[in-house]
Every structure is written in C-alpha cells, then in structure tokens.
C-alpha cells in the first residue's frame, strides 16, 4: 500500500462495509439479495450519471447540466413514443446522439471561450430544462409494449433477489467508465488535464479535443441515465431529477475522487452511490427517521471525505518533500 491516493478509495469501501454491518445488526434482512437488488435498481440512474461526472471531475471540471439532461431525456422519449411510430431503440439512439452532441458543444464552448466549466454547464442546465419544458409541461406516461418488456426484465438471483435490466446497465456503465478512464490514452489525457492544463499541454496532450470528448462522454452517460430513469419511472416529466447533478458530484467525492481533479477511481464512485443508497434504505427500514435525514447524512459524509482527502494530501506532500 504505497500509493496514498488509494487511501480514500479504501476508506470509502471500509465505510460502506461498516455501514452495511451496522444495518445488518439492526435489520438482519438487509443482507439479502432482495435488498441488494433493489439497491442497484433504485440507484441505477444515479450511478450511470456519476460515471460521466467522475471523468469530468477527474479532468478538474464540473458538469451542472446532467440533472436537466436526464429530465430532458425522459420527456424526449415519452413525447416521441407518444407522437411518432418510432421503435424505442431508434428513439434511444436519437436521444443519445442529441445528448452526446449537447455535451460536446459545452466542451467546445469551455475550451474555445476559456471560461470556467461551472458557468458554461450552468447555461447548459437552463437550456436542457427549458427545452424539456417546451416539449411538455405535464408528466407524460410511456405506454409501449417493448418498453414494458424492458421494465419487467430481470434476472432472479438466489434468495429471490431481482437483478433488473437497469441495474445491469449501471454495472456495465461502471466497467466501461473504468476502462475509459484508466486504460485508454483518452483517460491518460483526462488525468493529465486534471493535474494541470499547462503541464498537460507541454506533455503533448490535445487539450481541446480531450475537453470536447470529456463533456461528450458526460452527455452520453446523462442520456443513458435518462433512458434508465424513464424505464424506472415509466414516464417523462420535465421537473424530474432536480438537483441530481449535485447528488452525483457528492457521490463522486464520497467515492474518493479529488474535486480538484487528477486523482481518483471510477470504481470508488460505485461505492459512493451504494453508500448513498444504503443511507436511504436504512431510513426506509427504520421508519421513524424522516427522509430529510438523508440530505444531512450525505452532507456530513461529504464534509468528512473532503477533510480526510485534505489531510491525506497534506501527508503525501510532506512525505514527497522529505529528503
């Protein structure tokens, strides 16, 4: 364990295991595949969008538009399935093309204008939510046989737990995200930009191209998350998933990725998502705690992790500075 950058990841996994153990002691039923399956299903859309957010944050950026893009995706799918005779798969492909292009356009603006990602993606957030609103202001139910099939698809695990299709999609998204971030040249460029844009440029990374690709990837994942969310809720609603971008950022941080960029693991984000889901499940099991405790617990976890990372970073710097 020489790499101090792994410590936050280990801390995340340890906290998840300890939290699960505490839950198990109080409610033995927590350790069943049913609960585990629901944990994956209920947080699938959050996990997928967090994969894209992890890559963005690894590059030192931020993407505030994702919550709106998920809402837009749901409305887009619902309206297109209602008004046209297109097959859902065609609609999905169209949607992913739109959201990927949308992300790429934001990346291009960030690079060409030299403006902070925060404010560019803020405009993107307004735009996506606004367009969703212009498509419809009502909740539109999705009524489609193929769609119903996707909703009902699951694999029965031992112990009668259901691993649903959208849960599987989330796990695949994490595998792809891990591969993209840690095994490809693009991923190396992302880490380089996160470490420092000027250094990366001197190293020969193509900053412009990489920035566009980073936000395109995030847009793609947000679109995919929108599809999963539409399958999960069976409808499209322009006011859905308000504030999801902030929850996604929180999961990334709890997962051990540095918000300053340049250090972190996609795998850690999975545990960030699961920890958050666990808090919610515990509150549901308990029954006396109110749902707003979730927000407070997440805030406290977030604070803990950031302070932990700060401390570790200081330790690392001191160690490398020592002769």
């Amino acid at each position: 364990m020489k790499n101090p950058r792994l410590y936050p990841l280990f801390a995340t996994i340890a906290i998840f295991i300890v939290a699960y153990a505490i839950c198990y002691i109080q409610f033995p039923f927590m350790l069943s595949t049913r609960v585990a399956g629901n944990l994956l299903t209920d947080n699938a859309y959050l996990g997928i969008v967090a994969v894209g957010m992890t890559v963005v944050i690894l590059s030192g950026g931020i993407d505030l538009s994702v919550g709106s893009v998920i809402a837009f995706s749901g409305v887009f799918i619902a309206v297109l399935l209602r008004d046209t005779g297109l097959h859902p798969l065609v609609v999905f492909a169209l949607l992913l093309a739109v959201t990927t292009a949308f992300g790429a356009a934001m990346g291009w603006l960030i690079y060409t204008l030299g403006m902070p990602a925060f404010i560019v993606t803020l405009a993107g957030m307004f735009l996506a939510r606004g367009v969703a609103y212009m498509l419809t202001i009502d909740s539109v139910p999705i009524d489609n046989p193929f769609f119903d099939m996707l909703q009902g698809a699951y694999w029965l695990m031992p112990g009668k737990g259901r691993l649903t299709l959208i849960g599987i999609v989330m796990l695949i998204a994490f595998v792809i995200g891990h591969f993209v971030a840690h095994k490809t040249r693009f991923g190396a460029n992302v880490f380089a930009i996160g470490g420092g844009q000027q250094t990366a440029a001197l190293m020969g990374s193509k900053i412009g191209q990489t920035t566009v690709l980073i936000y395109a990837f995030s847009g793609f994942m947000a679109g995919l998350s929108g599809i999963v969310f539409a399958i999960y809720t069976g409808s499209g609603y322009p006011l859905a998933t308000v504030g999801t971008e902030l929850t996604a950022i929180a999961t990334v941080v709890i997962g051990g990725t540095l918000l300053t960029g340049g250090a972190g693991y996609v795998f850690g984000t999975l545990f960030g998502v699961l920890t958050m889901g666990l808090i919610q499940t515990y509150i549901v099991f308990d029954g006396t705690l109110s749902s707003w405790w979730t927000k407070i617990a997440i805030g406290i976890l977030l604070l803990l992790f950031i302070v932990l990372q700060k401390g570790l970073l200081k330790l690392t710097v001191e160690r490398t500075a020592a002769p």
Partner: protein
C-alpha cells in the same frame, strides 16, 4: 461619479433595451400609478420581486471578487426563513425572529468561511456541503411542513409599504447603498479585490486574508438571511423545500451579468444589482408579454451564452485586435497571432 457610472453603462444599456423590448409586447409596462397610498405598476413589481436575487447578488459579488462562489445561499434562505418562522411559532415577537433568522445566516456564512479560509477547501465544494445538507436542516426545523404564522409586523417586511414603495425594495436598495459605501469609502473593497487577484501575494503584503474571507462569506450569509426573511414574510410561511430554490444560480447569473469575472478581482455591486433587475425584467416581461413561462429558461440560457462570449478572455483578445486594426491601423499580421492566443 462619472467613473462609477461608466462601469455600469453596459448593464444599463441592456436593461433599457429589455424594457423597450417588453414595452413593445406590453405597451403599458412603464406605467406607474399612485392609488390607495401606494405606487402600483409592472416596474414596481419588478423592483419588489427582484428583491431576493438583488440581495443575494450583493453578497455573491463580494464572494466572487475573492475568486470564490457561494452555492449555499438558496439553502440559507430556507434555513433562516424556517428559523424565523419557528421563532414566531414558539410565541416570540418580531425582534427575536429577526435576530435568530439573521444569526442563522451569519452562522452559515461562518461555516462556509472557515471551510474555505482555514481548511482550504475550494469554495464551490465547501458551499456545496451546506447546499445539500442545509435543506435537510431546514426541513428538520419546520418538521417537513410549511410552517405558517400570523404576525402582522413580520408580514409587513414582505408585503408592506413605506412612502408608497414596497418594503422589500427599501431593504435591498438600502443594503446595496450601505455595502457600496462600506467597500468603496474604505479600503475594504481594495483588500477584497487583492485577495481575488492573488491570495498568497496579498497575505504576504499584510492583508489578513483569512479574516476577510470569513467576513465575505458571512456577508453573503447575512444577505441570504435578509432574502429569506422577505420571502418568508411575503408568503407568511416557511417552505423548507421550495424557498430559495435555484436562487443561488440566479444570483451567480446576476453577478456575471454585472460584468464580474468569476476569476476574481475587480467587482461592482451596483452592476450586479442591475443584473438582478435585468433577470427579473426578463422573468416578468415574458409573463406580461403573454409568452408561456417555459421559454424563460431557454431565454436565460441564451443570455448566459451571449454574455460568456462577450466576457471570454479569448474573444476579448480578438476584439482588441480588431479595434487596433480598424482604428489605429498599426497592427501587423504577427499581432493577429499574438492577440488570438
């Protein structure tokens, strides 16, 4: 004064242009009538409804000038509103309610300030913590309900009038005037700018950067508390879920429209406040002109992009080059490449 006026000319031009545009669709936009001891009209409405964002923009401008950002202001509105309403619901009067609400805002600012100044967390992350957990805290105070109350003196702050002008307008105008005097008639504004330009250098030069940073975040918390009081008083109830929702983004937008760079440094509170009025004119204008309010967000997004393009350091280089080339005729072809970089 000409110097100060010159700074806000782009914002004033934008505002005048928008007012003209709205008047085109809604001809009586500029009409103000005096009836029943108060002024009524769309303009007064804009001034009143823009109060929360204008107040937030004052604090946000100070924070942005130090190269920070305060994402928690919307949540602080909910917390201070909930605290104020809870104080009244427990049987206390106007003064205790105001004191506790403002104390809650200052405490939130202190928390943010300590995270930024002492622990050294990036402002966007530090304030994100309170932004997420704060609504939970507000819901804890109101127990998840909309906490209503009946105290005429408190409600007066949201819907009353003084000299025919709504009280919220007085609150934001006076706050803005006070803060502008405070930062421009003392060296305070200069010191805040120096932190934004280079925190380490200003600390080496003897500026107490930590105390100033905390003070700036507390000022932002204070302004958010005032906005929370106005919103709570106006609807005579504290809504932990929806009070101040998305207002942090409007406040940042107002600050940016005011020409304040998110990279810190020079700032203008008057321009930011005009920025808040620009946003409110758009909101009200879209409503009055009979457009569906769905267009609101798209129009805002387009506006942000236009402002970004105008503010961009890269584009600014190109514009400078163009100006040199057209008016001075001195720039050589090589200068184009340098300007374009």
């Amino acid at each position: 004064m000409p110097g100060g006026l010159k700074r806000v000319i782009p914002q004033l031009v934008t505002l005048v242009f928008l007012v003209a545009l709205v008047s085109l669709f809604f001809p009586t936009f500029l009409q103000v009538e005096y009836s029943g001891g108060r002024f009524v009209g769309p303009v007064i409405d804009v001034l009143k409804r823009g109060a929360p964002v204008a107040l937030l923009a004052i604090g946000m401008t100070l924070v942005v000038a130090t190269r920070g950002i305060d994402l928690s202001v919307g949540t602080v509105i909910a917390i201070s509103g909930a605290v104020g309403a809870a104080t009244i619901a427990s049987g206390y009067g106007l003064v205790p309610a105001l004191v506790t609400a403002i104390a809650a805002g200052l405490a939130a600012g202190l928390f943010n300030g300590i995270l930024v100044a002492f622990i050294g967390i990036q402002p966007i992350v530090a304030t994100l913590i309170l932004m997420i957990s704060g609504r939970g805290i507000a819901q804890l105070i109101t127990e998840g309900r909309i906490l209503t109350f009946n105290l005429p003196s408190f409600a007066f702050l949201g819907s009353g009038q003084v000299l025919g002008i709504p009280v919220p307008v007085w609150i934001w105008v006076l706050t803005a005037a006070f803060v502008i005097l405070l930062v421009r008639r003392t060296a305070l504004g200069l010191l805040i700018e120096s932190i934004g330009v280079n925190r380490r250098a200003s600390a080496l030069a003897g500026v107490n950067a930590r105390v100033l940073l905390i003070a700036v975040y507390m000022a932002s918390g204070f302004c958010a508390a005032l906005a929370g009081i106005i919103i709570t008083a106006d609807i005579r109830g504290a809504d932990a879920n929806n009070a101040g929702l998305w207002l942090e983004l409007d406040a940042v937008l107002a600050t940016v429209i005011g020409g304040n760079s998110l990279l810190g440094g020079r700032f203008s509170i008057s321009a930011a406040v005009i920025g808040a009025m620009i946003i409110q004119t758009i909101d009200t204008g879209i409503l009055l002109a009979g457009f569906p309010s769905e267009y609101n967000l798209v129009i805002k997004a387009v506006l942000v992009v236009i402002i970004l393009v105008l503010q961009s350091p890269n584009i600014a280089g190109d514009l400078k080059f163009l100006k040199q080339n057209l008016f001075a005729g001195r720039a050589k072809p090589e200068a184009r490449q340098e300007a374009g970089k």
